[in-house]
Symmetry: D2
Subunit: 141 residues, 4 copies
């Protein structure tokens, strides 16, 4: 999957009009970097600018799935995900680096690091994704 | 924490203007039920009405934290969460039943079930929450 | 898979000569109960009788896999597992209640509760298991 | 915690007479490497030499806890752990590289990689550990 195809896939999802995640890079060996520009809509407190945990979890979901998707060349639905929150990002853009650790016939496993532009790490994610179906039902419009 | 206090806490978060989650019940022994009315903004495809995984994960985050918060009487930030997606809900309102399984001095553990009004289960969540601080920094405006 | 077949499957594993886990019940809808008689070999401190976390995790692995196996009628290898330790059991026999929450074509999800004979819960487990292959390579002697 | 102290701590546990894990290195910034010499007692099938998932999970437990312990200078009990099995190791010694990703006042988070001597990765682990108590009850003999 090329960066253009990844961008097109991300643009499809209705929820991404809220979570305005943009792909920065896509490596078919299983690496993607996504970008989320800070928006106070993502926070707990507007004045504080601290990100809501659900926004971080959503980024992990998308970056993990995309890391497997670029290997497969088609969407790979999420079977499960886990997020460890190390510290709360505030008032900054976020980057999600997704890396497929293994994509087999049945499942894929991907890691996700949530960081800022200077490399400070805010959360660690990992998940299981389903690579099997080239045209997963949940991605058929 | 009473239902009114829980509702007030949820209403504080900026992101909950997007994820319009409402509390239905709060039991100080550690049980809460949250409600999310279907909105096409939460979907992958508007026409299909299928929920985005990030929305489900956000519900798990909030319901798990709230299940521990009602025990403690104050917000309990999320340390980690995990979500297992069993099937994709579509075109339906969602309920998140959170249940604290143990709230100790250092950490709390809560389970979350994501279901519809008829009891069909779509996702299972579990997480670790930090009960210690009666006034957690990330919840101070 | 009947209780006898489950017992035979468990008896095969070399590691179960160390972790002497015994099946107590097997329901083909996806429920199993396993039994582990206390042995000081499972502890951190013999004098204290407190179970090592690895023993608990091993029980979760086996009970989760078996809960999916009884549905499928054949072994279902573990893709991932998670264990939340609520309190440390000591000097008591343990029971592992495994319950398949969903077994689909590609993956199964099972919950495991680690408890004693009086129902005190010590740990919560959950995992993903691979149901696809009726004769998984790792179970072929 | 020095390598000698880590070795002494590991030698205390009764279960480590079964799971004969040895420390190879300990860096007080939060890195440890543990070694497990192959033993057919750890397998599913002796003839096949394939490791039981519980043995891998036990290694993740110990290596994650030790990665946080070397930072703290005292044992850090496991709150939860997760293991993703990528492929099954067989007939080989195993190494567990533990790395603390963050050790705060309340919890620590550590990553564990299970590999062989040539760097082939078999499993990925992550867990939450409790750093607070310099003399945790479960480690008091």
């Amino acid at each position: 999957m090329t960066l253009e195809q990844l961008a097109a896939l991300l643009a499809q999802a209705e929820f991404h009009k809220v979570l305005k995640v943009e792909p920065l890079s896509a490596d078919p060996t299983g690496k993607v970097t996504l970008f989320l520009r800070f928006d106070s809509a993502y926070t707990i407190f507007k004045a504080k600018g601290n990100y809501h945990g659900g926004v971080i979890a959503s980024l992990v979901d998308v970056a993990g799935a995309m890391a497997c998707s670029v290997v497969q060349g088609h969407p790979t639905p999420t079977a499960n995900l886990r997020v460890d929150y190390l510290k709360t990002p505030a008032n900054c853009d976020l980057f999600a680096d997704g890396e497929a650790r293994r994509v087999g016939k049945t499942i894929g496993v991907a890691d996700v690091t949530i960081r800022d532009s200077e490399g400070a790490v805010y959360a660690l994610g990992r998940g299981t994704f389903i690579p099997a179906d080239p045209n997963p039902a949940i991605f058929r419009n």
